[in-house]
Amino acid sequence: MEEDVETRKINSSFLRDHSYATEADIISTVEFNHTGELLATGDKGGRVVIFQREQESKNQPHRRGEYNVYSTFQSHEPEFDYLKSLEIEEKINKIRWLPQQNAAYFLLSTNDKTVKLWKVSERDKRPEGYNLKDEDGRLRDPSMITSLRVPVLRPMDLMVEATPRRVFANAHTYHINSISVNSDYETYMSADDLRINLWNFEITNQSFNIVDIKPANMEELTEVITAAEFHPHHCNTFVYSSSKGTIRLCDMRTSALCDRHAKFFEEPEDPSNRSFFSEIISSISDVKFSHSGRYIMTRDYLTVKVWDLNMENRPIETYQVHDYLRSKLCSLYENDCIFDKFECVWNGSDSVIMTGSYNNFFRMFDRNTKRDVTLEASRENSKPRAVLKPRKVCVGGKRRKDEISVDSLDFSKKILHTAWHPSENIIAVAATNNLYIFQDKVN
């Protein structure tokens, strides 16, 4: 697949030096909506920026619908927990869209503790011709009013408003890592390190606890929940992954508290590869159902795995993302990179999977042809609208031209968050504080 367009997130535009990045601008989540018309990003400063794809015009066929900023709003503010004397970060951990049911758009955004439902709506008309007040809003003197008129709606410049419609707070003791909208569109779940809660969109003061893995004695804690997602079609089924590399599939019909899983997915450990870091690198950082609902994909530190829901004892496919890091695990443990949580995504047809790596590299794996490619999201190394050149990391002694050696990789440039358009070959890649959007090349 060849890539085409590049768009940069509009931030700090008043700063001339493009390499300067404030921490608040670091993108922490990226998500297309169900039609792909909108793309939402959340950042460490608690802001949400929504991009909208412009309508394709016949005059400029080569600009196949670029994404422009549609709305920006502050979703979460930093808070202070007085009981524990700790700050609650405003960083947006996840954004999930609701399917569109009327003219307005709805999305869920969450930080560590609170989930919010936002309504994003357009206003392009305003009423004019009030009787009791004039155009500036000042009240008219009633004695001066001699006739009545009916206010009419006149067009105005488009205004996009975001309003918080629901705030789902105080239900999580630990940090929320995932939210997932159910296929019934009436409920959603939020998962933290030890518990998963089920919410109804209409009710903010109550939630059902459906998974609780907190041990009675916290000293016995050895495993945490790392990600959770609802099945795309079966509203009673969901999965959650753990820090020990296991996935549990639960059916909410069996009991109110889904502590007993219906299915348990775990790959047996390879004894020859065992080291002190085996458990850490097996910790699953992301789990995603395929669009078909037949498969789940998991991401651990070095690999992406595809599992068939009908086979629990091992994945059906394993893809090496950056196996050259296996010999560097000690250094990566020391600088904490080994704890980086990479996400993974399916394309619309479930034939290609994508995930990020270091040095602003991201990888795509074609499940059918078994081909894979490494690409780079970087302004320095590719011009806008140029086709991206595949990259290669060299592990051995001899480094070919254009290859990068493992030791030259920049571990501060990590691509943790990516998104794939639901039906087209358009991808969004978040590289620290920059957002890149790539499209298939048009011939």
Partner: protein
Amino acid sequence: MFMRGLKRKCFDGEEDIEETLAGIKAIPSYNLQRQSLLDMSLVKLQLCHMLVEPNLCRSVLIANTVRQIQEEMTQDGTWQMINMQNTGQASVDRLVSTDILCRSSREQAEGKHVPGYSTFSKDFEGDQAQDSSETMSTASSVQALRNLQSNVWEMENSQENKGNFQKSLDQIFETLENKSPNSVEDLFSEVDNSYYDLDTMLTGMMSNTKMGHCDGLEPFPSPTTTTSSSNCKSDLNELDHIVEILVES
């Protein structure tokens, strides 16, 4: 089994010392590699962010690694043996000499003069395993760990739970003797020391490749180092924070 190339940089004659210890794996410096990993893990658990709630997943994974190392050391008999040595010669002086040991060889490499180096070398020659002194300093950092880890682990704990947790941590890490108040400074220097290692490594100031915990580690290229050193700087601020806590307690 363990990573190749994880070397302790401090001293010569490490190979000989390794061979004299009974029942230990034949791979040279494996024990030191493991010890280094244990120390690193304990430091990581200590220096979690104190302003924001620490990442529970990371803490759990590090703690599991520590447990794994401890289990293996118990199986090896290394833990028992070192524990016996601990009870035999528990003295603050030994901690100090370890600290000088690590500093002096690095500073030696940088051509600095370290006062008291001559007294140190007497201590060192007189005694056996570098291993055991390092484990003792580990023990003291475990002590500090106990004070702090209850904060890291369980934020909503009652006093009772904290006591229980400390007891089980005792079981995990073995009962260690109470150090004198002087050891507080030594704890701090122990922690400080490790971070000096990190800092040196990450900013690529190493004078020889043997420095640093990981042999395979090359100096990171400059874009990374600026980020890493700012991470180190924020970690050093946390260090101050922890010193405050230690001093107040």
